[in-house]
């Protein structure tokens, strides 16, 4: 079992003719992902490695029965691409694009609320069910299939923790990078709920970071609703208030004490979630659960 993506997902790639889109489509196909179409305005009728390209997302969805989109469209045009995917409609949209203006995402988020589509990202590495399919830019070779779910706000931190898991012989059901932006589609609670409902996921590793209150909300959810054990990691303990640490959402607000690494660690601990001081310590906790 898995969440969000599997062998049956019929994937279309928005921005398939661009450098990133083309490169990662190849990687996805090589991994076994069922990529059935591309969508790029003005490039309809072309092919990329034998994959048909359409001018519109709705055209690609209709002709090729696509239900999932991976978005590699540059930031200036990304919100429009996301609105198009929501309008198509599709079941799942994974937005890889980094640097979409917040104002644009607020409008996308508004529309998202009016649809049944699941949006993952933006500014995320994607979603992978090891051995079945991957959507996005995650390096497939570090993953192995198994029993641990992973959800993370950071791409490279995902790789670090997965690498530590795999090195110790612990495989993954699905890994979801939810992205580090202030406004994202799928949040921790959404992903944790999916893992809780997945009978094959025996434990979950959750990687958070400073900024926002998503981790605190996740802690409340875990405490109230989850039987599956969760271990956590929070990046940004050393971050000074008021400074953006790379991710647009990773900023500790001036006062009030929310959004800090400590407030998140405390909330998780209160919900019975052990938090590792290093990525490897997270794997120690996961090992204890299995």
């Amino acid at each position: 079992m898995s969440i969000l993506v599997d062998n049956d997902s019929r994937v279309l790639v928005q921005g398939i003719t661009g450098g990133e889109g083309k490169f990662h489509t190849r990687q996805m196909v090589e991994y076994g992902t069922n990529v059935v179409a591309g969508a790029v305005p003005g490039k309809g009728g072309q092919e990329v490695d034998g994959i048909p390209v359409y001018d519109t997302v709705s055209g690609a969805a209709r002709e090729e029965d696509a239900d999932t989109s991976v978005v590699f469209v540059p930031p200036a045009f990304a919100a429009d691409a996301l609105l198009e995917a929501l309008d198509a409609p599709l079941d799942l949209v994974v937005a890889i694009t980094e640097g979409i203006p917040q104002q644009d995402m607020a409008k996308v988020y508004k529309k998202l609320g009016e649809t049944d589509t699941t949006l993952v990202g933006p500014n995320c590495p994607g979603v992978i069910t090891p051995g079945e399919a991957k959507l996005g830019i995650l390096p497939g070779n570090i993953f192995s299939d198994g029993e641990v779910g992973l959800v993370s706000r950071s791409g490279t931190l995902t790789y670090q923790v997965v690498d530590n898991l795999t090195q110790r012989g612990i495989g993954q059901t699905t890994a979801v990078g939810i992205g580090g932006d202030p406004i994202i589609g799928t949040d921790f609670v959404d992903a944790l709920e999916m893992f809780e409902n997945d009978p094959e996921t025996k434990a979950v590793a959750m990687c958070g970071e400073i900024g926002g209150e998503d981790e605190e909300e996740a802690a409340r959810f875990i405490g109230e609703y989850m039987d599956t054990p969760v271990a956590g990691f929070i990046a940004g303990r050393t971050a000074p208030p008021g400074k953006r640490m790379g991710h647009a959402g990773a900023i500790v607000s001036g006062g009030g004490g929310t959004g800090t690494a400590q407030s998140k660690i405390d909330a998780l601990n209160d919900a019975g979630v052990p938090v590792g001081d290093t990525p490897d310590e997270v794997v120690d906790h996961i090992e204890d659960f299995l």
């Binding site: 930031p75 791409g155 490279t156 995902t158 209150e213 909300e217």
Partner: protein, 381 residues
């Protein structure tokens, strides 16, 4: 990107938000001349981006030219919470009877902007929010429709703003929202919004944070970016297009991906060191970018050692290794010891390319960080 007060007030004035008469000055003579021209009393305000400037001695109210000179001499060149003050805003003092707080920010949980009004202006609004959240009225705004007049009125009346000025305050709030939308702001704050005895409303301070991701469509604001940088290194980082934050320690940190770089910082701290900076070279970095990153970190004189932590997804280990070699081969003597950890895409190829006469290679994140901390300690001795 956070604008300086004078920059934000310029944007406000252009949009029709009333601000006091003011002039920017970078020498004592300029400051006194500006004060004479504006007419006393004036406030002399340090233009650095820290909260609590007043309490820290960065704002002085002066009554005549002698006092203006004295205040300008004190403030220009002072060190304010670690930042060097090289400019002051000389501004007409406002004779007020009341102070309000108004602001617009993004409520990330709702994915919607929220406008805020409080009659408890002039104080630390974060404290008010923590102690008495009811004292701030919040009005969510539809990001597609924008702020309607009634929404602005509702926020202002519910906050209990005096009837005599409620209309003007509502109109300012709506203008601020329009600015939020037009300028791709992530935060706009006026604290205090002063009410004079003649029922005039004046923005006595101005905070404006701009979404850096939207600067591509904000050419006027993008031009202000260089001046908004806090120091030479941050200006350099902007030029190179790095996410960079200068910190107070002595272990330099370069990595790819915000989460992994933050984690590297945390581990430096965990193993008893102190991070000198956050530097994310981003995804898919090529050799030149790596060279620039090393150049940046070496130009910080506090740095005693550097740890390079790369976990490649899009980023390729061989490209990074090439960049490290190229950067270090320029030196007869490498200024500070460099520790490298490469994992992920093409890491093995990278390890083979890497000139190990120039750097120390470690296999795991933990080992690399501990080695860099150890080098930094040795340099200190």
């Amino acid at each position: 990107m956070k604008l300086h007060e004078y920059q934000a007030k310029g944007v406000f004035a252009d949009a029709g938000v009333p601000v006091p008469d003011s002039q920017l000055a970078s020498t004592v003579d300029e400051a006194v001349a500006a004060a004479d021209e504006i007419g006393y009393p004036v406030a002399i305000k340090a233009q650095v981006q820290v909260g609590g400037r007043g309490k820290a001695g960065g704002i002085e109210l002066v009554e005549d030219a002698d006092e203006a000179r004295e205040a300008a001499e004190k403030i220009i060149g002072m060190d304010l919470k670690g930042l060097h003050v090289d400019r002051v805003l000389v501004e007409a003092a406002v004779d007020f009877v009341n102070e309000l707080y108004v602001g617009v920010t993004m409520d990330r949980n709702e994915g919607e902007p929220v406008a805020m009004v409080s009659t408890r202006g002039g104080v630390n609004i974060e404290e008010v929010a923590a102690e008495d959240p009811e004292a701030i009225t919040r009005e969510h705004v539809d990001p597609v429709f924008g702020m309607q007049s009634y929404e602005a009125r509702k926020a202002v009346y519910e906050a209990g703003v005096d009837r005599e000025v409620a209309g003007d305050v509502a109109s300012i709030l709506r203008t601020l929202f329009q600015l939020w939308d037009d300028k791709d702001a992530t935060e706009i704050e006026v604290n205090p919004l002063m009410i004079t005895s003649d029922d005039e409303v004046v923005a006595a301070d101005a905070v404006m944070n701009i979404d850096e991701d939207a600067l591509f469509r904000q050419p006027d604001l993008a031009k202000m970016e260089e001046e908004a940088a806090e120091d030479d290194l941050e200006a350099k980082a902007n030029e190179y297009g790095f996410d960079y934050v200068r910190l107070s320690g002595n272990t330099g940190i370069i990595g790819n991906g915000a989460g992994l770089v933050m984690t590297t910082l945390d581990l430096v701290d965990h193993y008893g060191g102190a991070p000198a900076n956050f530097l994310d070279i981003g995804g898919g970095a090529k050799a030149e970018r790596v060279t620039n990153a090393l150049d940046m970190v070496f130009s910080d004189e506090n740095v005693d050692s550097v740890v390079f932590n790369i976990f490649g997804g899009i980023t390729r280990g061989d490209e990074v290794a090439k960049g490290i070699n190229e950067a270090l081969e320029q030196f007869d003597e490498i200024p500070k010891p460099v520790v490298v950890r490469l994992a992920g895409t093409n890491a093995e190829e990278g390890m083979e390319i890497l000139n190990t006469d120039l750097v120390t290679v470690e296999k795991t994140l933990e080992d690399a960080v501990q080695r860099a901390v150890q080098y930094a300690e040795e340099e200190q001795q």
